[in-house]
Structures are given as structure tokens and as C-alpha cells.
Symmetry: C2
């Protein structure tokens, strides 16, 4: 496996692939890889001539008091996972080369970063867009893979790449779930067994909302169904539950076009997020979602 | 000459050149091309396999009350100039494709955009960095050419491209001057013959400052020499005259490393800028500067 630590080296390899007419896929990660990441890796390997995984715990997207220092770093296990997925190239830069002294540039997307997670994580999305733009500039992939679990992030990155015209195709990948319904997340590792069992309340709240949405287009009723499920779980401390337009992320009163139910809930030491599609009543549910 | 109006078409051509192993040079302009632009074009043609000129009057970098509407658009003459310089490809997008509905992304460089022109042109540099980043993403040149006349812009763009890792070489080109010393600028077109003759006061102020700097490293004395020249010209209304570090653009009290004298002066209807190198006393002046 080729492991590159320097943007210059990664860029030289990428540009060589371009000259050879090879297509590149990038899966940006913060490491601590799980089945959800693996599904992205497998798609990149299947769909591109060269699949690159980046592993970088980006300090810019963690706020004060967030879990940057404690974020799980599992380098050896991650390499084994990447090898299993058939990824041959890893870009794993250090802070010193990503943000050298004097670094002063930021990339920001307005609007989409006003609500949802942005309210409790000021500056988070600016950190995400800045690091993702740099990764995209260095690797210059034809396709970049992002999980729908971070739905707002996906929308923000799609907006950014469309706006700046880099020509990369942003490929959304369905949320990978445990058999219980719990969305795979590195932050699940912060949970005790009991908390992990209770964390299934997020996906149950989404399912309840989707069930009501099959009968009504009223956001109030749909949200009430989700909140009722969450209220019954004493360990759940809700950050937000919102029903938003699937593209603009603006809150909806009625579901007249594709929407998304998004929520963030604290369970014990972890802040967990999840989301699911909500379609106008009578719509056929897309294959593979739900 | 190939004229491309769509980012998609420009990008497809650029990526084809990459696959063919051809090097690309980009000269971003707002049109109204003069000798200064021509010198950039000639360098791009000489140094790269493919030279692309972009012509786009970027609304984002004009503030309220600035000259966006009146900025000279001279399309036919510009094409003739480009043909004369041997530029075979022009990227001339419209506002509708550069900033389509929903466009929400901005690129910003902190620090370097605090002083000098930023004080009287809030938001200007964010407009510049956003459009230049988009042009660079679409065209993906190996080299991009910028004139030293816009010295702060050059420093900001170099910082941005270094920070985001696109791997483009930013090539600075010396300011092109009329025989009188007046720096070439589209905004010189706003001047009457009398005002144009008086506008030479900017380059004379720089020369006076450089002359004093040969004898002393004290910024106060160097700036006084420039201000004395400007004060003698009744039509000159000074926006700023500053002596700054040549890289960080921070104001200096003593010239102990390469510095830059930068100034912005209103002459009649035009706000003109100029700048020149100031070196520690006893330094040999670099060839071609002064």
C-alpha cells in the first residue's frame, strides 16, 4: 500500500494518473474506519481506476470543548481495513503540512451552514469545507465519496464543489447501519453497552416519522412522532429534530417535495446524528433507502 | 481562437490537455487589455504549451458605489490583442454560469486582507479570491500570471494557492509603465489628459521614497518623502501610503528585510494604485525592478 504524507507527493501521483488517463476516486475520512467507510471504499475501488483514502483528523472542524484530543486514532487497524477493501493509496498528511505556519485561507458555504448542526457547532462546517477543498485540490479526484449519515456535510460539500467548478462528482453513499438500526459512527465507540442499546432511539424516531409521513404532509405531525419516540428514552438529550428540504435544508411546514428528517441527540458522552428521507405522501420510497 | 463560455467546456478542454501532457498557463483578466496584460500573455505563451486568457468582469469584487457598471468592456479590441499575443484560448464566462442561482461559496484569506486596499474596499479581496479560485479550479493551469501592479492581490492569491494545495505556480510580472512612469491600468481610461499627466505623481512618490531608502532604514523618513511629493500635487487625494513587509504586508517601522511601498491615490474620477520595492540600505536592486 502506498502511504503519502506530503501534499506535494500526493499531487504528483494524482497528476501522473491524470496524464495516464486513469480515473481517481477519493474517500476522505478521519480514520477509525468502520463498515460504513468500507462501503465507500468498495465503491471507489469498483468505480475508479485508482482509489485513494485520506486519513486526517482535521482540527479545524472541532470546536472548543469538542472531542478532537480524544477522537479515536486507530492507524494500524485502519490500514488493515483499507487493504481488505482493496484501497492501494492512502493520503495521511500531518497538521504541519495541512496547516503550515501562516496558513490563512478558509472556504465557506453560506445558507446551508446556518441551521441543524451548525447551531451547536459554530465554525464546524467552515473547518469541513476548508479541509475538503484542500484534499480535493491535492488529490483532484474524478469522484469523491461521502456518507449520507453526515447529511448536512454532504449537502454543503456538493454546493461547494458545484460552486467552485472543480468538476469532481460527489457520490452520496447510504448510511450503514447495525442490525439494530443504529447508524455506524466512530462516536458510537464512546457508548457503553447499555447506551449503545438505547442509541437505537435515533433510527426508531426516524422510522416513526416516516411512518406518519406516509399518511400526512404536515411537518408538525411528522416531527411529533419522532419527538414522542425520543421523549420515551430517558438517556436521550435532544439537540435538534428537524424536517428540512432535502436540497436547501430549509425547515418545512409541509412535505411537498423530497425532505429529510435530521436529528442530533446526546446519549451519555456522545453526540449522535442521524437522518432519513421523508417523501410526500404516496411517493414510492427509493430503493435502498428507509 | 477558441472562445469558451461554459466552465464545463473549459474544464473538459483543460483536462484533455492534462491527459496529453501539455502544460497550461492562465492569465486572468477583466478585459480592457493594455500593454501590461500583453506582457503577461506573452510570458504565458512563451512558457506554456497552452495559454488561456480569461476575461470576466467579476461583480463580487466591486463594492457598492464602485465602478462595476462603468468598467470598460472592450471585447473586440481584447480579442485582437489576444490574437496579437498568440493566445489561442479565451475563457469568457457569463455571470449566469459563474454565479448561478444558489451560489453560496466564498474563499477568504485572513491577515493579508486586513490592511492597504481592504480598508477602503471591504469585501473586495473575498470577491477576488472566490473568483480566482473558481477560475483556477476550472482551468487548472500549471502557471497563473498576475501583475505586481496589484501587489496585495498577488500576495493574497499566492497565499490562497499555497494554502489550498492546488499546485499552481503563481508567476508575478513586473508592473508595465508608460514612458512617464504611470503604471498601466484600465482605470487610467477614466482620466482626462491633464489628470493623466498629473497621475505620474504616484510613481514619482515611489521613486522619492526609494531614493531616501537608499540612505536610511527608517520608515517615517521614507514615507515622508513619498507624502511630500503627493502633497505637491493638488489633484491628488491620498487614500493610503504605506511601507509594508514584502510578504506579510505588515506595516514596518524599519526596513530590515525586503519591503514594499504601496499607495492608493484618487486623481479626479479614478482611484489609482501603485507600488514599488524598498530594500534595506545598501542592498543591490534586483534587475528589472525599480
Amino acid at each position: 500500500m502506498g502511504i503519502l504524507r506530503q501534499p506535494d507527493g500526493m499531487r504528483a501521483l494524482s497528476r501522473q494518473w491524470w496524464r495516464e488517463g486513469r480515473t481517481l476516486g477519493l474517500v476522505p475520512t478521519m480514520g477509525n474506519l468502520h463498515e460504513g467507510h468500507l462501503s465507500l471504499m468498495r465503491s471507489a475501488v469498483a468505480e475508479c481506476d485508482e482509489a485513494v483514502a485520506s486519513i486526517y483528523v482535521n482540527p479545524l472542524q472541532f470546536g472548543a470543548g469538542e472531542d478532537f484530543d480524544g477522537y479515536p486514532r486507530t492507524w494500524e487497524a485502519d490500514l488493515a481495513t483499507l487493504a481488505e477493501a482493496g484501497v492501494a493509496t492512502v493520503f495521511a498528511p500531518t497538521d504541519a503540512v495541512m496547516y503550515p505556519p501562516g496558513f490563512a485561507t478558509s472556504v465557506e458555504v453560506a445558507g446551508l451552514t446556518d441551521g441543524l448542526c451548525a447551531r451547536s457547532r459554530p465554525g464546524h462546517f467552515r473547518g469541513v469545507t476548508t479541509v475538503v477543498m484542500k484534499l480535493l485540490c491535492v488529490v483532484l479526484p474524478h469522484r469523491a465519496y461521502f456518507g449520507e449519515k453526515d447529511y448536512q456535510q454532504l449537502a454543503v460539500i456538493r454546493r461547494m464543489t458545484d460552486d467552485l467548478g472543480l468538476g469532481v462528482q460527489i457520490v452520496p453513499m447510504p448510511t450503514w447501519r447495525e442490525p439494530s438500526g443504529l447508524a455506524m459512527s466512530s462516536r458510537n465507540g464512546y457508548l457503553s453497552d447499555d447506551e449503545r442499546a438505547r442509541a437505537v432511539v435515533l433510527s426508531r424516531a426516524i422510522a416513526a416519522a416516516q411512518s406518519v409521513a406516509a399518511e400526512t404532509d404536515q411537518a408538525a405531525a411528522i416531527l411529533a412522532a419522532a419527538n414522542e419516540v425520543l421523549a420515551a428514552e430517558p438517556l436521550a438529550r435532544v439537540d435538534y429534530v428537524e424536517l428540512v428540504d432535502a436540497e436547501t435544508l430549509e425547515p418545512l411546514e409541509r412535505v411537498e417535495r423530497p425532505a429529510r428528517l435530521c436529528l442530533a441527540v446526546h446519549i451519555g458522552p456522545a453526540r449522535l446524528i442521524d437522518n432519513g428521507p421523508v417523501l410526500p405522501p404516496g411517493s414510492p420510497l427509493p430503493l435502498g433507502e428507509g
